[in-house]
Amino acid sequence: MRHVIIGAGPAGVVAAETLRKRMPQADIVLIGDEPEPPYSRMAIPYHLIGNIGESGTYLRKTEGYYEKLGIEQLQRRVTDLSLAQKQLTLDNGNRISFDKLLLATGSHPVKPPVEGMDLPGVVNCWTLADARQIIARSQPGDDVVLMGAGFIGCIILEALARRGINLTVVEMENRMVPRMMDGNSGTLLKQWCEDKGVRVLTSTRVTGVTQENGRLVVQLDGRDPVPVNLLISATGVRPNTGLAGELECDQGIVVNEHLQTSQPDVYAAGDVAEGRDFSTGGYSVQAIQPTAVQHGALAAANMSGARQAVHQGSINMNVLDTMGLISGSFGLWQGADGGDSVTLNNPASYRYMNLQFADDVLVGANTLGLTQHVGVLRGLIQNRTRLGRWKQRLLDDPTRVMEAYLAHHVP
């Protein structure tokens, strides 16, 4: 039995490990197209800050780890996939046949439809190769524009600011991290960054990039152009569905509760997969680390024949450290139809909490400045704990989420 996994990110690696645990004899091939050991994109900001070397981003740290597990690694790009023949072609022309295939091909940075995004000096912050460029091209005193104050933008913000560069953040929505934080907290986050000396332009579009006297000039709508040494584009990611062929796709490759695509022997996991969302019951691309890992483990269990490895859906959640202010987002933070909510808002101390309920069940949350026991928000949501009288207690004081959980789960 040969299992082939395309993509060596967290979903692919966890899938390979899970397959090996369950199938000691199977051939397992893990194909990644970057010239690095499997690593975590999430760790790149900490590399940019200088806290860790490149090896600190590696997903697994033990020497000879994959060899010891008998996982064959290939650093190649897959150029063609034939589902009919159950065979794929690599960029060196070699062909590999498979019994079961996992597509864990991840996602790629979106290229904004703006003139000049191909100029040298315009970079993404997605791969280790990108990180090397940013490190080489952003020296103290340099002017840099970060385009996009989304998840990736915010998490690299501190790294950039700490490099001693003059940073301007340009975001087209009216607040920071608009896809993760509500109006109150996204606005507070902006204020926090401005207090720290970062210029944040929200509701502002980059309309074009030109080159003048060896520097880039970033054109903005309704504002003066900004001359820079470097433009970092972080305007979101899209699934790498290039190999999907006739597989059913929407935003990503659609998978059922077994992480199976429309083709029974082909599975998908992680950023490329459009899987079940716990909160909505619908299907969506979440593109977050915990979901990638969950997908990878469950896809592999199903590939190895487990019958009960059913995906109940993943909770969309994020945690973000923006120059020391920690924000969190869980489930239906935008609220549920017919639900109600409670808000604790203390802008002076940058503390914020919003809990969203459907009946007496917690379904979503946004937090700012909360670092202790945050995971219990996920627990309450995922367990669908009926809060009973504790709902009123949370309406009175939303910080008591841990007590609400303990009251129901500790005898």
């Binding site: 966890v14 760790a43 590696y58 997903l59 915990p290 945690v319 920690i326 627990g379 007590e403 009251a407």
Partner: protein
């Protein structure tokens, strides 16, 4: 026989010596805010509930860690943070559905209970027997794990 922490909230008086002992053992100072165990207060019921990591089998924190910084301690069964590897990304703090992995802004890394390597100081310090370190079978750990299983979508894959 593996041992685990057994917590009997009925015996807890809320004296917080467990928090002091934990923070002293792990941080070298008496600072309950850096304790891995936390006593929660229920004024309405006149009740105190000490709570910390149950070292659950699912180990959501360990699964979610993107840099291999949480590892299984084969001797005690605890899931331990490897400080040299932790980058402080905090994904484990939202992945743990029990809320027992916390970010320590002083160190820039996360902290969680590691059973003090097999000699938990909270249990040593507890004057009323509300926290004891005993054979795992007797602790009701299985009940906790059952609950973990209910929230679980990963268990079948383990």
């Amino acid at each position: 026989m593996q041992k685990s922490l057994h917590i009997d909230p009925g015996k807890c008086t809320g004296c917080l010596q467990c928090e002091m002992a934990c923070s002293y053992e792990n941080e070298g100072l008496f600072n309950p805010s850096k304790s891995r165990i936390k006593v929660f207060t229920f004024h309405e019921e006149g009740r105190f509930v000490p709570y910390t990591c149950t070292q659950c089998d699912d180990a959501w924190c360990m699964q979610a860690c993107p840099v291999d910084a949480i590892v299984l301690n084969a001797v005690t069964g605890s899931k331990d943070i490897v400080n040299d590897r932790c980058v402080g990304c905090k994904v484990c703090t939202i992945a743990c559905p029990f809320g027992t992995v916390n970010y320590n802004s002083t160190s820039g890394k996360v902290i969680k209970c590691d059973l003090c390597g097999g000699n938990p100081q909270c249990a040593e310090a507890c004057p009323t027997g509300a926290i004891t370190y005993i054979d795992a079978d007797a602790t009701g750990l299985d009940r906790m794990r059952q609950w973990a299983g209910k929230t679980d979508t990963q268990r079948a894959a383990a």
